[in-house]
């Protein structure tokens, strides 16, 4: 089912806002993560862990979920679909994996914040840099896929196109 152009634009705008917001929130998170790992000031480290927990819970997770849901709605409501083009499929898989890892990781982040809050030496905690940098890379790859849209139609996409072209030929042949 294809959405009308105005609705499609609105959904696309919402998808861009949530996706870019997700990327920006992850970058802010990484700045705190680096502080938590690298700083020698215990209060600064403690504050960084608490802020990481807040950013993850109040910005990263809601934006990630919104981006995935709106992206799926946008894909289903446009000729791009979800499974017709390799780049869309790759982006869908990347964002689903990133969201799943994020949801699992959020418990760790909360535990780290609690641990840092109650410790006199929060610098001994290891931070979450491998996951946060990995997440950023995944989001950047998704961004590149969205911009470049590398060619490639799946078998399913090809059969859908054939179906559509068949309908058009039938409609033209049966014209006035």
């Amino acid at each position: 089912m294809t959405m009308p152009p105005r609705l499609r634009k609105a959904v696309l705008a919402a998808h861009v806002v949530t996706s870019v917001g997700w990327l920006g929130a992850v970058m802010a998170y990484i700045a705190l993560d680096v502080t938590a790992v690298a700083s020698s000031d215990a209060n600064r480290v403690r504050a960084a862990y608490l802020a990481m927990d807040m950013i993850a819970g109040a910005a990263i997770i809601p934006l990630a979920l919104a981006s995935v849901v709106i992206g799926v709605v946008h894909g289903l409501g446009t000729p791009w679909g979800l499974f017709r083009h390799y780049w869309v499929l790759a982006k869908l898989l990347l964002t689903l994996i990133a969201t799943a890892v994020l949801l699992v990781q959020s418990r760790t982040i909360t535990s780290l914040a609690r641990a840092a809050d109650g410790s006199s030496d929060p610098g001994a905690l290891s931070g979450t840099l491998p996951h946060s940098i990995g997440g950023l890379l995944v989001l950047l790859i998704a961004l590149v896929l969205s911009v470049y849209k590398p060619k490639g139609v799946t078998r399913y996409g090809w059969s859908k196109q054939q179906e559509l072209q068949g309908h058009r030929r039938t409609a033209t042949a049966a014209g006035p």
Partner: protein, 78 residues
């Protein structure tokens, strides 16, 4: 962030037979497969250490349920 008008998705192929998998998909799939294999080998061999939430908790005596029972020295909390 798909822009449907940037490249018409309905006109990317016009063939009689299904298209093959593009090279960028094959190369990426092989690269991801190799990375996963390396990750699995490192995990199973124990070289990479523990992977999971416990890895981040390097403070002595910490466990997820024990966090709230810690005694905090007043001088360390502003």
């Amino acid at each position: 962030m798909a822009e449907p008008n940037a490249r018409n998705p309905e006109t990317q192929t016009d063939r009689r037979s299904p298209p093959g998998m593009p090279r960028w998909v094959k190369v990426t799939s092989i690269a991801i497969g190799i990375l996963l294999l390396v990750f699995l080998i490192l995990q199973l061999s124990g070289i990479a250490g523990q992977h999971g939430p416990g890895r981040h908790m390097s403070l002595d005596g910490y466990s997820s349920g024990a966090a709230t029972t810690w005694a905090v020295a007043p001088a360390t909390v502003e």
